[in-house]
Amino acid sequence: MRRPRHALTALCAGAALVAGAAPLAAAPGPRLDGVKAYLLAHAGELAATTGQLEATAARYDALAKAAGYDTAVLLRTRRAEVARLLARAKAQFLRANPAYEEMEGVVAGVPSLSQYDVDIDAGASAKEDPSSAVSFDVKTSDGRVFRKPGNYFALAETSLWGTRPELLAEGGRRVDLNGDGRVTFGESLPDPRFLGAATRDFHAESTRLLATARAWSPTSTDVFTALVVMVPTMNEYFQSWKASRFVAGSRAREASFVATSRLGDIRDILEGLKVIYRGTAPLIARVDAPRSRRLATRLEALRALAADLLRRENAGTRFTPEQADLLGAEAQDRATAIAGEISQSASKLKITISQ
């Protein structure tokens, strides 16, 4: 049941007005509508982008089908078009990723939404860890079933950038897509039927998330829980950054996080958490104004730390594992302190944190 588009626009506008008007309010109140508006805007962006990704993957599959799913024939006859489609798919992935990461704090931190995080961004494959595996299988048009293969972002990323051989077309592991005589990282051919099926399901899941987000009524418990649950997970993100090719280079154990640095995810997640915090700050200020200000400052400092590291990385700095370890530990300590202070505020406000 889809609501008219103008309802969303009105809601966003209303939330923006509330957010803008709040500083002028005599008595600060919760701004949870702002959190919902933020979630809706990002869920909408994700659904739209994954829809585009699905269409691109379908076009790629159609080309492969026309070539009888023969990699050699496909490259011989449609190399340029294939290269263009895959480049477009990668660009779409790179747009979808921050759209999600910026709202991940809400999705993963709110118990009623958190399963979407497992399937879209955080769940392992059943082979890696059955206890934290995703809930879905991917069925391709030729009847193959990939049982609980990992989260959608990981599937799209590892098939597009070619870091999981089982998701590639036969003979598609190393392909000179741009015809420059060299095969560089990311030049590979995804299994077209798999990519088509995975992106189709990814889009469907994103659409479901959007629908759930529309029906969600945020509560104080939701937003405080999201902060307390998500803020202290920084070290995990730094660990995956450390294990990714951005730090470990060719010795990377991590197949995912090859397209964008995990630092970008960390920055985006913290950006989302800042938005959630803005929703709770007026409440906290009621019982402890200095703490409310301090938390805003500390969250921003943490985000700035991640942003600075990302800036350095984008500028060419290659961090060593030891440096990554040091930085991750510091981020974790800061995050733990922030979460601890939020718990104290929740206690003062008699707000229950859902564990």
Binding site: P232, R294, P321, T336, A339, Q355
Partner: protein, 799 residues
């Protein structure tokens, strides 16, 4: 335009206020801000050294020194030693920054920070002692927290204590102790983390982090040192101080061997030390967790291995989860256990270590320990712990049980995510069993509705949510399961609150009375229905039923006494025993229904018709009646004992809560109510025309049978004797299960339909036979026809 101007004016006002506030803040930053600035500046120095060559590192340390100045003014009077340590460490940081010495800068930074935390902790406690909650609150801004875990966000005990102090609900001394406990608990945990972090950094060869973590461990220990000294004496405290000194120095020097030796010594000296002894209720909770988790380790492991190989890695992972949980609880209790029985504590620690190795080897494919060996290791530890537990830990803790329920529900969800619905169902039944025989017993006394809600969520649904049994059976997705889980978590939170708050004597008496009345009513209903037709000469058939019922009452009283003595053991068999007793009751009820329709009506009619009543009841029919007597005796017994047993179990909760005297008052009230209703029923029966009474009786027996069959099917599903197949699309409110035995599964409904068919079939058959006899009697002499007509109107003519 006017609105815009107003908004602009308001914004300017806010901005001016903010600037004003900023000035105040800039003039005197709170300890939290000043401490964070010092810490950040030192991190910036480290970052500069590590990432940018160190050109600006010394300048950053200079910033830290300036940031310390306002804090020093406040800290100096209350914690001069801590301030001196911080300053000395800052001087070392400066030298390290100038020398480009990463490890030394890391260690100095940790020293500065730990000294500030120590000073702030002291200042917060002093302010609390002085009753100055506002000052204490300011100092508490400069602190660290225990890292959050699955079961706990950072505790807010200190914050709450200050709130109570401010409100006059807590005296300063008590508030100070609460603040101290909260802080020491956090720093005790951080010290152990720092030790582990130093060890890990050493293993990876990360020199700066190694030095920093070792220095942090020393710094945290200094915060705990006064408590350590109080517990272990000055000599031991001095020795530990030297050990931590050696630890930090060896890490700074990169001396692996010396570090390893110091770490081993530190672990030995800290063994069993808790800066904050657990509160009694928390210790009982942890003790309960330890036993529960440890019991589950061999169960899960046994399911995951077969013939020397791992068949279900999922189960091994679960065994690891439980073992880790057991070790966490053991670590918290080790100090107290060691005081009680050091040898047993050492053996339990060794067994836990063995289990860790066995499970890790199995999951990583190195070696698969025999399931029996794992069972022996776990059982050995359980026996040792049982011997070492103080009495006050033995009563069990509802909180621990609820933790186990939560962990088991985690497993359920993980199994659903992995598509392993068999494992999910097994986890669900485990969660239900733990709840049923743990918290539920007390909860029935305090909040019976809440019991219904939790049970409903674990089975077929409650409070607008699907039940877990339905979801698992229908292979529902993780979202649906998560929805019910959220509802269950809220209900379990409420359970903890209710169990923690206890109940008044009045409510215990009321609950006992209601319980006895409800269960007693069922028994009376059955007895009234069965004995209703036993009139005239057959009145004597009531005797075996009543004897059976009285025997059941006596047996219930004995069961009550046994239950008080061995409630724990009895509860373990509770539901299975209930299933068996229910099956016996159903069998007897079916028998009696059959007899009722086929023998009583028919035999009575025939006896009337042929005038042979006397002979049948005392002569040739003697064998038949003897068998009936046994059947009736059994019927009376099982009908009442079934309810009596259930009542006894539920009454245990009340007995534990308020003692036997209070419970007996409620029981007396309930029994009075039951007797009153029983008397009313018999009066109504007597006044009803005979035929109506017969119909009423038949309907009552049928109704009781159908409810009993439905309830028993549900109990048998609970103990795994019947499968669970939900009926798609059928949703029933929870009360239909409680009052009518009506649950939305094929097994339950079909059993009840079977019972209805049986009862109706018996009636139809009896009527047909009777009709045939009547048509036969139409040809009989007029006197006989007359007798048959009399039978239809006069109860005294019927057996």
């Amino acid at each position: 335009v006017r609105r815009h101007l107003l908004a602009l004016a308001a914004a300017l006002t806010v901005a001016l206020l903010a600037v004003g506030a900023g000035r105040v803040t800039a003039a005197a930053p709170a300890p939290a801000e000043a401490g964070a600035q010092v810490r950040d500046a030192l991190f910036a120095a480290q970052q500069d050294l590590v990432l940018d060559g160190g050109g600006a590192a010394a300048a950053r340390v200079g910033e830290a020194e300036r940031d310390l100045a306002p804090l020093a003014a406040e800290l100096g009077p209350v914690a001069p030693a801590a301030l001196a340590d911080a300053r000395a460490a800052l001087a070392r940081a400066d030298r390290a920054a100038r020398a480009g010495d990463g490890p030394a800068l890391g260690a100095a930074r940790a020293d500065v920070w730990a000294a500030l935390l120590r000073g702030a902790a002291l200042a917060a406690q002093e302010a609390t002692s002085a009753g100055d909650a506002a000052a204490a609150d300011r100092w508490l801004g400069l602190r660290e927290f225990r890292r959050p875990t699955r079961f706990s966000a950072a505790p807010a005990d200190a914050t709450e204590a200050l709130g109570a102090l401010r409100a006059g609900r807590l005296r300063p001394a008590a508030a100070r102790e609460a603040v101290a406990r909260d802080l020491l608990d956090a720093y005790g945990a951080r010290m152990r983390e720092a030790l582990a972090g130093a060890e890990e950094a050493r293993g990876r060869g990360f020199r700066a982090r190694w030095a920093e973590q070792a220095a942090a461990a020393r710094g945290y220990f200094r915060i705990l040192a006064p408590r350590f000294r109080a517990r272990r004496g000055a000599a031991a405290a001095g020795e530990a101080e030297r050990t931590f000194g050696a630890l930090a120095a060896s890490a700074l020097a990169g001396d692996r061997a010396a570090f390893g030796a110091a770490r081993t010594r530190a672990e030995a000296e800290l063994a069993g030390f808790r800066a904050v002894p657990l509160a009694p209720e928390e210790a009982t909770r942890r003790a309960g967790q330890l036993l529960r988790f440890l019991q589950l380790v061999p169960v899960e492991y046994g399911r995951g291995v077969e013939a020397g190989r791992v068949t279900h890695d999922f189960e091994i992972q679960e065994a690891i989860t439980f073992r880790d949980g057991a070790e966490g609880a053991f670590t918290d209790l080790q100090d107290a256990l060691a005081r009680s029985d050091p040898a047993a504590t050492r053996r339990a620690a060794a067994a836990l270590a063995t289990l860790r190795t066995d499970l890790a080897d199995a999951i990583e494919g190195r070696r698969v320990a025999d399931a029996d060996a794992v069972k022996r290791a776990a059982q050995g530890a359980l026996d040792d712990l049982d011997g070492a537990y103080p009495d006050e830990w033995r009563g069990g803790s509802a909180g621990a049980d609820i933790d186990v329920v939560r962990v088991t529900l985690d497993r359920l969800q993980a199994a659903v995510r992995a598509g392993r619905y068999g494992s999910a169902e097994s986890a669900r039944l485990e969660a239900y069993a733990v709840f049923e025989f743990g918290p539920e017993i007390r909860l029935r006394a305090l909040a019976p509705d809440l019991v219904n809600e939790v049970e409903g969520l674990l089975w077929y649904g409650a409070a607008g949510h699907e039940g877990m049994a339905t979801l698992v059976a229908e292979r529902a997705g993780p979202e649906a399961v998560a929805d019910t889980r959220t509802a269950l978590d809220s209900a379990l939170d409420e359970v903890e609150v209710r169990l923690g708050s206890g109940a008044s004597t009045g409510s215990i008496i009321t609950n006992a009375a209601v319980l006895v009345f409800r269960e007693g009513l069922e028994a009376v209903l059955i007895l009234a229905a069965i004995t209703a037709s036993m009139l005239g000469a057959n009145r004597r058939l009531r005797r075996p039923i009543m004897l059976g019922a009285l025997g059941a009452l006596a047996a219930s009283a004995v069961t009550y006494w046994i239950a008080v003595e061995i409630i724990g053991q009895l509860a373990g068999f509770g539901e299975k025993l209930e299933a068996v007793v229910s099956l016996v009751a159903i069998a007897v009820l079916l028998l009696i229904t059959n007899w009722f329709f086929h023998k009583v009506y028919w035999t009575g009619w025939i006896s009337q018709f042929h005038g042979r009543r006397r002979r049948i009841l005392s002569g040739a029919a003697g064998g038949f009646l003897a068998a009936q007597t046994v059947g009736l005796l059994l019927l009376g017994f099982s009908s009442v004992y079934r309810e009596g047993f259930e009542t006894v179990l539920f009454l245990q909760a009340l007995q534990l809560e308020a003692g036997s005297w209070t419970v007996l008052q409620g029981v007396a009230l309930g029994l009075a109510g039951v007797l009153g209703v029983g008397w009313l029923m018999f009066v109504v029966q007597r006044r009803l025309p005979y035929k109506k009474m017969l119909i009423w009786t038949g309907v009552m027996i049928g109704f009781v049978l159908v409810v009993m069959v439905g309830t028993t099917a549900r109990v048998m599903q609970g103990v795994g004797w019947l499968p669970i197949t939900p009926i798609p699309g059928l949703e029933l409110p929870y009360w239909t299960g409680v009052w009518l035995g009506l649950n939305p599964t094929w097994e339950g409904i079909l059993s009840q339909v079977g019972a209805i068919v049986f009862v109706a079939g018996s009636y139809v058959l009896a009527e047909r036979i009777r009709g045939r006899r009547r048509s036969g009697s139409a040809a009989a002499p007029p006197a006989v026809r007359e007798a048959a007509e009399v039978e239809a109107t006069e109860p005294s003519h019927i057996s």
